[in-house]
């Protein structure tokens, strides 16, 4: 199940664990990324908390946790090479995997069509 937030994160939910990243639209708006800071595995976040930070040449931006949950894995590849977020934001450049506190909570988020409409 692929879902989106109006803060431009995407979530791919499988067996109660959401793989989370930022959308192509967000990556395009941010421009060339030069630094990514990810949360620690095992940390917990509430929906809307700042879970990660991305920095372009010009500015720093927060990446929000899309739902309540616990970080179970982070993607070191985007820390080592932040430009991956620009080249493959909705694929290889995922940010973290979040074990959802409520596996059904993602149902209420935007589907792909609704998100596309939002950024159109």
């Amino acid at each position: 199940m692929l879902k989106f937030t109006d803060e431009h994160e995407w979530l791919k939910v499988e067996a109660g664990v959401a793989t989370v990243g930022i959308t192509e639209h967000a990556a395009g708006q941010l421009g060339d990324l030069v630094f990514v800071e990810l949360p620690e595995t095992g940390s917990t976040f509430a929906k809307g908390d700042t879970a990660a930070t991305v920095e372009s040449v010009k500015a720093a931006s927060d990446v929000y946790c899309p739902l309540d949950g616990e970080i179970v894995e982070v993607n070191q590849a985007i820390v080592d090479d932040p430009s991956l977020v620009n080249s493959d934001p909705q694929g290889a450049a995922w940010f973290f995997k979040l074990k959802l506190a409520d596996p059904n909570a993602a149902d209420a988020l935007l589907d792909e069509a609704a998100y596309k409409e939002l950024v159109a």
């Binding site: 030069v34 630094f35 920095e55 010009k58 500015a59 720093a60």
Partner: protein, 379 residues
């Protein structure tokens, strides 16, 4: 989207839009922050070929002596700037600052001697205040005119000289900070060999009616790409150049700001025209005794950028505040984070480590000589 309909436009707005620029508000103008290539590529292109910048938002001001003698305009202007204007030869340009009574900086600017008048370029955000300041200070002896019928572009980078030469004007004889009139495609332009990137390059003042045409012709050259405000900022930061309002302002003096080089001997203690500018007592006092803080280059140790506004501490626990970052970001040519800011006088030596507060952490930052990249001015 932010509403930007109330903003002023430069004569090149339609050209920016046709090039796919992302427009943002800046100093009351709608300006291109980047083009589709993005900040990184635009920055690197300027350092390796030639970048073209629209800086038409800046103020272009003519100061013309009523007596007809340029010396009178120079001496009048010296009452507002701590700079040797009288000694500025015809066809030469010099960096300057307007100071206030406390020795703070009202704006920074360029002053050119154009033979029978002085030609000033001032910052967009300050230009109305600067114009009033100039009229108030100089109108006894000079006519002060803000030009509203000229655009200003900058062509910067190692290929800039060759591009201008190929397209129209042989500018190879010009040295850094020379100013000359030249025809570009039959349009009378004022060209100075200067810029804000640390690269060799030119700033070109063009009559508004011809601005888009001249700019478009420059952009047709394969070595030239349009560059937005984003890369303009990273280029000037690598070059160690101050951004007015961030790195220098009304609360910083020229000594604190480490721009003493802008004050020639004639205006310093013992000089032919010592003092005689606003804030002279404080500024000359700091020349003699030093200031309690100073602007320095800052090189973050890791990969994380340290941005303007970050506090600097002597320790890793945030106990002893020793300064503040005023500009910071990522330097594409340096390929790492770079910054500048103020530290107290006991932490100004190159190699001193201080700690920047970033998202609750204290990141090591080393005081480093500016600029971060070698300036390539043709002196």
């Amino acid at each position: 989207m932010e509403d930007i309909s109330h903003l002023k436009h430069t004569p090149l707005r339609a050209l920016h839009l046709s090039l796919g620029a992302r427009m943002v508000p800046f100093a009351g103008y709608e300006m291109p922050v980047q083009y589709p290539d993005g900040v990184m590529k635009e920055h690197l292109h300027t350092r390796t070929a030639a970048g073209l910048f629209d800086v038409s938002h800046m103020g272009q001001v003519i100061v013309r002596p009523k007596s007809g003698k340029i010396e009178d305009a120079a001496l009048a202007l010296e009452k507002l700037v701590p700079v040797d204007v009288l000694g500025l030869g015809e066809g030469r340009q010099r960096y300057a600052i307007f100071t206030n009574a406390e020795g703070g900086i009202l704006d920074d600017l360029m002053i050119a001697n154009r033979g029978d008048h002085l030609f000033l370029v001032v910052n967009a955000a300050c230009k109305d205040a600067d114009f009033e300041h100039l009229k108030k200070g100089l109108s006894d002896s000079c006519e002060v005119t803000m030009l509203d019928d000229r655009a200003l572009i900058a062509l910067q980078g190692p290929h800039a000289e060759a591009v201008l030469g190929e397209l129209w004007a042989d500018v190879s004889a010009m040295r850094f900070m020379d100013v000359a009139e030249a025809d570009l495609h039959d349009v009378a332009c004022i060209i100075s060999r200067s810029g804000y990137t640390g690269e060799d390059g030119f700033e070109i003042s063009i009559p508004t009616a011809s601005a888009a045409d001249v700019t478009q012709r420059l952009l047709e050259h394969p070595d030239v790409k349009p560059i937005g405000l984003g890369a303009r900022d990273s280029l000037r930061l690598e070059a160690g150049l101050c951004l007015y309002g961030n790195d220098i302002d009304t609360t910083t003096t020229p000594v604190e700001g480490a721009i003493e080089w802008a004050m020639q001997k004639a205006r310093r203690a013992g000089g032919a025209r010592e003092g005689g500018f606003p804030g002279a007592d404080r500024i000359l006092g700091q020349f003699a005794e030093g200031a309690s803080r100073r602007r320095v280059g800052l090189k973050p140790g890791g990969r994380a950028p340290v941005r303007g506004g970050a506090n600097l501490f002597a320790d890793t626990e945030g106990k002893t505040l020793v300064g503040k970052v005023t500009s910071g970001g990522f330097g594409p040519t340096v390929d790492g984070p770079i910054a500048m800011g103020y530290v107290d006088a006991t932490h100004t030596d190159n190699g001193t480590t201080v700690y920047a507060e970033v998202r609750g952490k204290y990141l090591p930052v080393v005081v480093t000589a500016l600029p971060f990249v070698k300036q390539t001015y043709k002196r």
